[in-house]
Symmetry: C2
Subunit: 481 residues, 2 copies
């Protein structure tokens, strides 16, 4: 007979004469009660075994982690916490799990231990929930953009361009490393490499995305990006997924509107579609924070925090206003900041961003109009700025507990201005001829942003280490599995 998913059994509207469930044993109590989970929901279904008529040998094999198939009657549960349970008539052990050896025993494991067992941690309640929420969030991303008529673009992962300067890149090669071919000058002969040139892993699909936006109007990317940076922090990964929409004819205000609407949509989608998982994660976070001093605990519980983001506009603050606020702030006056803010032009550090978001405004903040010389070459220079205080139409969105979650800008659409900037920064115009073509032929105002998907998942799940919201994290010194 066909088996039924646990979620569907728990959502049943009637009792059922005969059902089949397949899944993994989470716990087995009193030689009688199996808590069975099949990954379709965080909730287990209780399966009541007729232990008097089940061979002792079979009962012994019902261990945590074992795969079993049960056939029985779906009846109203006498126990608390569930509407239905299965009275088991037939039980089959599909795959054993040696209780002495199975690492995921039903007890508290450290997150570090679980990371080392990333192939098994997804069998725990917390990581099952995180991965389901991550999946639903990524679908929300696609749904949002597709409903609005955006075209999904797969920008290249392997790239011959290394002029973007968004970060350190990984090299990709199929040359034999222990016997690299040399050219006449004695340098490595990349002409003999697979692509006939030196190639890297992409740090961003933005530039290629722009070429598509200037034809299809509204596009978005959603794919892996890479940074070969030795950042061993709880907010950085060497391999992460990024979402980059780009819209022709949008200016910076449109861009802020889009980013805010988008983020609110995907969070609402998760709230609507992941209730049980988020409820569980809220409890997990409360539990985790019990061991912290009161001052370090979250002010809001997880669901409250997510609803807060939905119900409140993001605060839009210019860089210049932010500098004024920071300069006059208590931590700046009392020299509590590691980097003191003395003057306009300073690059903001994460301590400043956190102060603005978590202490001053207490809500998501969009900072915009940054000094030109601390931002990327492709950003639109503001008209009518004071000489020496030029700003660009950049924006960063800062989230409580996460810091920067979005970075974007209106793009410099004027060919001459863009070329001048590239020359000043020593960026190779020949190599980026195709990018300049978007300004040579039918250029127009356009804008876009990048959102680090794992930071969004962090925020929504209430986890605090980015390694816990991606299936198999890649970090300095670690590329297991």
């Amino acid at each position: 007979m066909k088996h039924t998913k646990v979620r569907d059994l728990l959502n049943s509207t009637t009792t059922l004469q005969e059902v089949n469930a397949k899944g993994w044993v989470r716990t087995f109590r009193n030689n009688q009660f199996i808590a069975l989970n099949d990954g379709s929901t965080i909730n287990n279904i209780q399966c009541v075994v007729d232990f008097e008529n089940t061979p002792e040998e079979t009962l012994k094999r019902i261990t945590t982690g074992a795969a079993v198939s049960v056939i029985g009657t779906l009846v109203e549960s006498k126990g608390a916490g569930q509407k239905y349970e299965i009275q088991v008539n037939k039980l089959e052990i599909l795959g054993d799990s040696d209780a002495e050896k199975f690492p995921m025993q039903p007890k508290k494991h450290s997150l570090e231990f679980l990371r080392e067992n990333a192939h098994l941690r997804v069998r725990t309640n917390a990581f099952g929930a995180i991965m389901r929420v991550r999946s639903v969030l990524s679908y929300a991303v696609h749904s949002y953009f597709q409903q609005k008529g955006f075209v999904y673009v797969n920008t290249p992962i392997i790239t011959g361009a290394d002029a973007e300067g968004a970060g350190e890149m990984f090299q990709v090669t199929s040359l034999p490393l222990d016997n690299l071919p040399k050219n006449e000058e004695g340098n490595i002969d990349f002409k003999k490499d697979f692509f006939g040139k030196h190639t890297n892993l992409t740090v961003s699909g933005q530039l290629e995305g722009e070429t598509f936006a200037m034809a299809l109007g509204q596009i978005y990317t959603f794919g892996p990006t890479f940074r070969a940076e030795n950042s061993n922090t709880s907010r950085h990964l060497a391999e992460f997924w990024m979402i980059e929409p780009e819209v022709a004819f949008n200016d910076l205000d449109d861009n802020m509107d889009l980013a805010e609407d988008f983020i609110q949509y995907v969070i609402k989608y998760a709230l609507d579609n992941c209730k049980d998982d988020l409820k569980f994660l809220e409890g997990r976070l409360l539990e985790e924070e019990k061991s912290k001093p009161q001052a370090e605990r979250s002010e809001m519980a997880l669901l409250e925090k997510l609803n807060f983001v939905l119900e409140n506009n993001f605060k839009r603050v210019s860089y210049t206003e932010a500098i004024d606020i920071l300069r006059d702030s208590t931590p700046n006056k009392k020299k509590k900041f590691q980097y003191l803010i003395n003057e306009w032009g300073a690059d903001l550090q994460s301590e400043h961003e956190r102060f603005l978001v978590e202490k001053h405004f207490k809500c998501p903040v969009i900072l915009y109009d940054y000094p030109a010389n601390i931002k990327a070459f492709y950003m639109r220079l503001n008209d009518n700025t004071e000489p020496g205080r030029e700003t660009v139409r950049a924006m960063d969105i800062l989230f409580p507990g996460i810091g920067e979650i979005v970075g974007g800008s209106e793009r410099e659409e004027r060919y001459d201005v863009l070329v001048e900037k590239m020359e000043k920064l020593g960026i190779d115009k020949e190599e980026l001829y195709w990018y300049l073509d978007t300004r040579r032929f039918g250029s127009a105002t356009h804008a876009g942003f990048g959102l680090g998907f794992e930071r969004l998942v962090l925020f929504v799940t209430g986890m605090t280490n980015i390694r816990d919201v991606i299936p198999f994290p890649r970090t300095p010194g670690s590329a297991e599995f």
Copy 2:
């Protein structure tokens, strides 16, 4: 004022007093008629310029590729082929396009020329249509699986495992290639590399996907995969996107059902949501085939072919039956095959697959139960097979004009049998300990498949070269943009 997308203007149900459209000029006829496109649809909107009251200088700047903004009245069109057009009151040139230099002039370009201009080809009708269809197809992929409760899993792109054997891999490193560190034995010291070991780009997310399926029940991946193979054909890319569902408790029959249902769903989704684009691509294909001899032309027009796949079950044929058919076939008897089929055990070449699909069955075919020794180590050995004629529960789906579009199998769930197979093939058990853990702890029947997304896009768009259905193709000697 806010501008309106061309698609929405063309779908308007009434005339409108004042509208604003922004887009790119496709053609400008008689100093009066602009065909304006903004990428939201393959259809242009006709904008009628009041040339008597427009400065000569402005009229000269309305060239193919220029970005313009028009404000005017949406009126019923007197011309054929469109319901509405815009009577222009105000026209603004946003970005010029020098007619002498813009490569995408409104004339026939070769596909090869367009590939060399991949950043601009998306401004043509054909490539706009292909990229929209690609986008809608990828959304259909997510919709199908998410509606069925599958969890989307981002398996790693950079991998430390190179034991899978699915193909040649690209190496990833951040070591300085011109000054590689050596260890005491004089070998390259990968301990000094970013991840502390030798790493590659993934060829498949299947093995990692299996670990998640054995916890979450039903999962799918959809991400880039890589092959460093020197295959300069119209069916191979070095970087391509793959979809890999994996389902716990599914056997090979369930796997075939899933693959067939999935493919039919996404094709139907494209037919329902990309009518105009597919209609255009059908015409393009007819045009292209006019230059071919009758015998090489498609038997069905594009839409007819797509509907045929929806309305007919895929033919399921065992490898053994297929060998019998091929051995007795006319091309085999007349020695027209390059590789003649003499006996059971032969690996099928693309000429044989094409014969089965295009000549013999004339419909999509699922071949299953292949000889064990021509298939991968993780495939489920069939019970009760003759010694020397062992088969595995593998399946390949073959499509007319495309060849293999899906490869999948029921997986070997028995720890001992799997280990024995790995030992026989010299596959490192230590390195794949995490994969073996799925069989050590709560193993169960499971199955999955991989579908090369670009081959699906090829089939649906009627294009014949895989480089034309991905934004920026990566092939031997080519990683431009």
